[in-house]
Symmetry: C2
Subunit: 406 residues, 2 copies
C-alpha cells in the first residue's frame, strides 16, 4: 500500500471532482470558503455512519434516509460549514431537502442521489438564498472538471486550524485501486466521532452492503477512538462513495482483495482521525491510551474513555506532569471493578506501576515522555483479555478562552 498525506485526497481516485466556494453562510463577508461539492459523473455505491446523539441535525436525518435502500446509487455530496442546520425544526428539514434538490438539478442527477451535510452553529436556520447561489457556483466548478480538491477541504472547515486529507493506493492483480479521504474536526470531538465530517472516495466498485461493513469496521478502529472533550455533535457523518471507475469490483468473494481494501480504508480513516485529534481546538499533545487485561473490551473502553475525558488528567498532560495518581483515579470511576493491586502501567514502554507499586526510579523518564508532543499510556488491568485503544489530547487554557463564546 502506498500512502500519501495532505494531498488532494478525494480526487486522487479517478472520476471524482470537488469544488469549494464562498457563499457567506455566516454573513461575515470574510471570503472563507463555506460550501463544497463532491461529484462523480458515474453513479456510486455508498456507505455512511452517523452521530449517535439523540439530537440529530436535519441533514443527518435526511442523508440517513437515503442510504436505507441497499440498491441506492449516488452522484454527489453537498456540504456547508458555518451553520449546522441543527435544532432548526421544520424549516431545517425543508432547507436540507432544498439543498439536495438544487444540487441534483444542476448536476442533472436525482435528488435522492445527493448526500447533504452541514456543520457549524446550532439553532440558526440556513441563509437559503446564499446557499442556493453557492450550490449553483459549486456545481458549475465540478461540471467543468475544475481541480477543487483543496477548495473543498477548506470549505468544510470550522474552527480547524488546517485542512486534513490523505490517500492510499493498493496494487491488485487487476490494477491499482485508490482511496482518498478528507476530514473536518476540531471542537468537540469524542466518543462516536463528534462535530466531524469525513468523506472517502474510491475508484473501486462494491455493493452498498459490502461498503457499509468495511466502513463500519474502519470507523470503529479510528473515528470512534478519538475523543477531545467529551462532547458528541448533532452532525457527525462519515460518508464513502465508490464509483467503480477502475472496473475492479471488491467483495468478500476475493478474500485477499477484500483484506487489502479493508486495510486501506482503515489506514485512511485512522490517518484522518489522528489528524482530527491533533488539530482539536488549541491542542498541544496527542496521547494514545491503551487498555489491556480488562474483563471485556467494553470495560477496557470505559476505562480508556474515563481517563481520556478527565479534565484533571488532560490538564496535567498540558503541564507535562505524568501524575499517574490522577490517571488511576480516573480509571477507577469507570466502575468496572478495577483492583489497584493488579494494575501495571507504562508511559511509552517505561514501567510506572507494577502491580500497583510505583517504579520511582523511572520517574525522570515518565516526565520526559509526557513532555513530548505524542506519547502512549498503557494500563494492564490484569483481570482478563479485554482491550481497547483511545486517542486523546490535552486541555489547554486556550481551549477555554476560545470556547467561552461564539
Amino acid at each position: 500500500m502506498k500512502f500519501y498525506e495532505n494531498g488532494d485526497g478525494l480526487t486522487e481516485p479517478r472520476g471524482f471532482f470537488c469544488s469549494g466556494i464562498h457563499c457567506d453562510v455566516k454573513g461575515k463577508r470574510d471570503g472563507k470558503l463555506d460550501l463544497g461539492i463532491i461529484y462523480s459523473s458515474k453513479p456510486c455505491h455508498a456507505a455512511a455512519v452517523f452521530t449517535t446523539n439523540d439530537i440529530k441535525a436535519a441533514p443527518v436525518l435526511y442523508s440517513q434516509s437515503l442510504i436505507l435502500d441497499p440498491e441506492a446509487t449516488f452522484h454527489a455530496v453537498v456540504a456547508n460549514s458555518g451553520n449546522a442546520n441543527a435544532c432548526t425544526g421544520k424549516q431545517g428539514k425543508l432547507d436540507t431537502i432544498k439543498m439536495g434538490k438544487e444540487t441534483a438539478r444542476h448536476l442533472k442527477a436525482q435528488p435522492q442521489e445527493v448526500f447533504v451535510c452541514s456543520t457549524g452553529r446550532i439553532g440558526v436556520t440556513l441563509p437559503m438564498s446564499k446557499i442556493t447561489a453557492g450550490i449553483r457556483d459549486a456545481c458549475e466548478d465540478v461540471l467543468e472538471g475544475f481541480d477543487g480538491a483543496k477548495a473543498f477541504q477548506q470549505a468544510i472547515l470550522t474552527s480547524d486550524t488546517c485542512t486534513k486529507s490523505c490517500s492510499a493506493i493498493i496494487t491488485t492483480r487487476y490494477g491499482e485501486i485508490c482511496i482518498g479521504g478528507v476530514v473536518k474536526g476540531a471542537g468537540m470531538i469524542e466518543p462516536n466521532m463528534a462535530t466531524m465530517l469525513a468523506f472517502l472516495t474510491t475508484d473501486a466498485g462494491a455493493s452498498n452492503t459490502y461498503l457499509q461493513t468495511v466502513l463500519r469496521k474502519a470507523v470503529d478502529k479510528s473515528f470512534n477512538r478519538i475523543t477531545i472533550d467529551g462532547d458528541m455533535s448533532t452532525n457527525d457523518s462519515v460518508i464513502m462513495l465508490a464509483n467503480a471507475n477502475t472496473g475492479i469490483e471488491v467483495s468478500t468473494e476475493d478474500e485477499s482483495l477484500d483484506q487489502a481494501f479493508q486495510e486501506a480504508v482503515e489506514a485512511v480513516c485512522q490517518c484522518l482521525a489522528k489528524k482530527c485529534v491533533t488539530d482539536g481546538e488549541k491542542v498541544t499533545k496527542f496521547v494514545s491510551i491503551q487498555i489491556q487485561g480488562a474483563k471485556s473490551n467494553k470495560d477496557a473502553e470505559k476505562v480508556g474513555r474515563c481517563i481520556s475525558n478527565s479534565l484533571l488528567v488532560k490538564s496535567s498532560w498540558y503541564g507535562s506532569d505524568p501524575n499517574w495518581g490522577r490517571i488511576v483515579d480516573a480509571a477507577g470511576y469507570a466502575k468496572v471493578g478495577l483492583e489497584f493491586e493488579k494494575i501495571d502501567m507504562f508511559y511509552n514502554e517505561i514501567p510506572a506501576l507494577q502491580k500497583g507499586e510505583p517504579i520511582e526510579r523511572n520517574k525522570s523518564q515518565w516526565k520526559s515522555i509526557v513532555s513530548q508532543r505524542a506519547f502512549t499510556i498503557k494500563l494492564d488491568l490484569n483481570q482478563g483479555s479485554g482491550e481497547s485503544e483511545i486517542w486523546s489530547n490535552d486541555l489547554s487554557e486556550e481551549y477555554v478562552n476560545f470556547n467561552k463564546s461564539e
Copy 2:
C-alpha cells in the same frame, strides 16, 4: 429551623470538640494547618457514605469497615490534608491503622472508635512520624477543651479558597437539637461527590441504622447533585456523628421529629454542597440544572449530568454566552431518546425554547441571566414525569492553568 452559615459548625452541637494543627504533611514548612480531630467524650452513633470509585483510598476502606457493625460506637474522627493515602499499597493500609490507633490511644478510646480520613496528593505514602506527632498535639487540644472548630475547618482544606461550615437548630417538644457541618471540596467534584470530605455532628441520639437512612437521603439531595469537572475521587467521605448529649432520641417512631431532623440534615448537606460548587477551583458561576418531564428520574439525571459535564457548555457559561444549542446538543448525548420538537427550556423563568422553537424575542434576557453569578437552566423534555436537579459551575481558563501541574 434556625440556620447559620460560616460559624463554628461542628462544635455547635454540645459535647463536640475540634482541633487543627500544622504537622507539615507536604514538607513545605508553610505553616498550613493539615491535621485535625473531631472528638466527643460521650460515645457517638454514626453514619457514613463513601466514594463509589473502584479505586478507594486506604482510609476509605478502613472507615467503611468500622461502620459495618450496626451497634458500633465512635469517639472521634482524625483527618489530614496534603496527602490522600490513596494508591499506596500495603504501607497505606498500615499507616491508616496506625493513625486510628494513635488517635485512640491519646483519647483513651478503642481503635475501632476512630474514623480516619485523608485528602490530597495520590500515590505518595504518608510521612508517619510527622503524622503521629501531629495526632498527639491535636488530641491534646481537644482533651483540653480547646475551641478549635475554625482550626479543624482549615486543617482539611486542600485547594479550597475558604472554609465552609454551617449549622441548624431545630426546636422540638423535648428541647433544641443542633446539627453542625463542615466540608472541604474544590478540585474534582462530580457525580457521587468527589475529592470531598464532609463531617456532620449532632447532639441528638439515634441508632446507626436510622442515621444511615437519614444521611443517605440527604446526600442524594445534596452532595450527589454537585459536579465540577466529571472526576470522582478516591477519598470522598461524608461522616455523621450523633452523641445524644441532649438526651433527645430521634427515630422513625416520632414522625414529626423524624421529619424535622431529616429536613435539618438535608439543609446542612445542601448548604455545604452548594458551598463546594461555588468554591470549585477557579469557579465564577453557580448553575442549577433542573430536568423535568423525562421518562424516568434516572434519565433526567443522565441528561443533567451530560449538560453539566460538557466542557463546551461550561466554557460558554464562563463567557456569559447562553448558547442553548450547545446545551441541547449536550443533552442529546445522554442518549435517553430525547425529542427536540418536545423540549421546553428556560433560563431562570424566561422561556428560551418552546417545543424546540427558540423564543428569539427573549434573547437579551437570556444573556443577562447567564451573566449573573448564579442562575437556573430548566429543561422540560415533555416525555414523562422523571426529574432531577444537578448543581454545576463554569470552567475558566484559570482552572486549566491551576491544574496543569501539582
